[in-house]
Symmetry: C2
Subunit: 132 residues, 2 copies
DNA sequence: ATTTTACTTTAAAATGATTCTAAACTACTT
DNA sequence: AAGTAGTTTAGAATCATTTTAAAGTAAAAT
């Protein structure tokens, strides 16, 4: 599908800026990236975009389900083009994230959910360090 | 054990400020808290401490193993007096964390660890929403 | 006990990611 | 073509956290 249609289906007005971002994010392999990473790629593609617009677009893309945000980073927001339900390896030395598809993990035993609540999602992070 | 000895054992010089914090954190039940939460409790106990010192002490307490930091919060750092290896429920509406002791979870299947690395810890977060 | 040394606390300034503001611009509707 | 609502932008503002450098304090050396 063309990116302009992905935007329209997501309920986003297809502006020049959103198309530039869609062309970078929505084709090609999945990736994890920061707002600044994306701005650098925009520059590298010969375009310009204010950092405010980069943040605005990322928020809109996320709220409409075109991307996700990784909930495991303190200093800088990390976004994810993989919108499936999945988990992550975290290289503790470099901060690099690697996807773990959901069917690679099975939880054999879960704690009892506090009463009045229901499980709305499980996030698993496996931290990695270099083998000595 | 007295808190002054806990500090000494941890290799921390027992200053007036560190003892005030130790008295708040290291006795009583476990808790999750921010730097500002702690500063408020220090005030409530009739003492004063600059926010810079609160952050400094928390970093020292953490590096010497007296507390931990929860690696799952974007805006504000959350610290944890529970230093055992454990997991968390996250109430998505309130941000409240609840401990899950490690023996309440069993991972039945794990993905293959990328070669050259070893598993240095698994963090599991079970997100909760109110039952309808 | 006094001096010396290294470590700690503090207020205030600096930092850095993110959000907000308000004016200029643009996509979509009429 | 004109009108309306949504978008982009530079720059200011925000907020958690860190840094700075001067003053204070605990431990070590005399
Ligand atoms: Mn850059
Ligand atoms: Mn407060
Ligand atoms: Zn991912
Ligand atoms: Zn905990």
């Amino acid at each position: 599908m063309k990116n302009i249609d992905k935007l329209r289906r997501a309920g986003l007005r297809p502006t020049k800026q959103r198309l530039i971002i869609a062309d970078i994010l929505l084709d090609g392999p999945n990736r994890h990236f920061t707002a600044e990473d994306l701005q650098d790629e925009i520059c590298a593609s010969g375009n310009y975009m204010s950092i405010g617009t980069v943040y605005n677009c990322l928020k809109r893309f996320k709220n409409s389900g075109l991307i996700k945000q990784v909930e495991y980073s303190k200093d800088t927001a990390i976004f994810d083009t993989n919108t499936t339900f999945h988990h992550h390896f975290l290289n503790e030395e470099t901060g690099e994230l690697i996807d773990i598809e959901n069917d690679k993990v099975i939880l054999g035993k879960l704690p009892e959910i506090p009463s009045g609540f229901l499980n709305s999602g499980v996030d698993i992070i496996i931290k990695l360090k270099k083998h000595t």
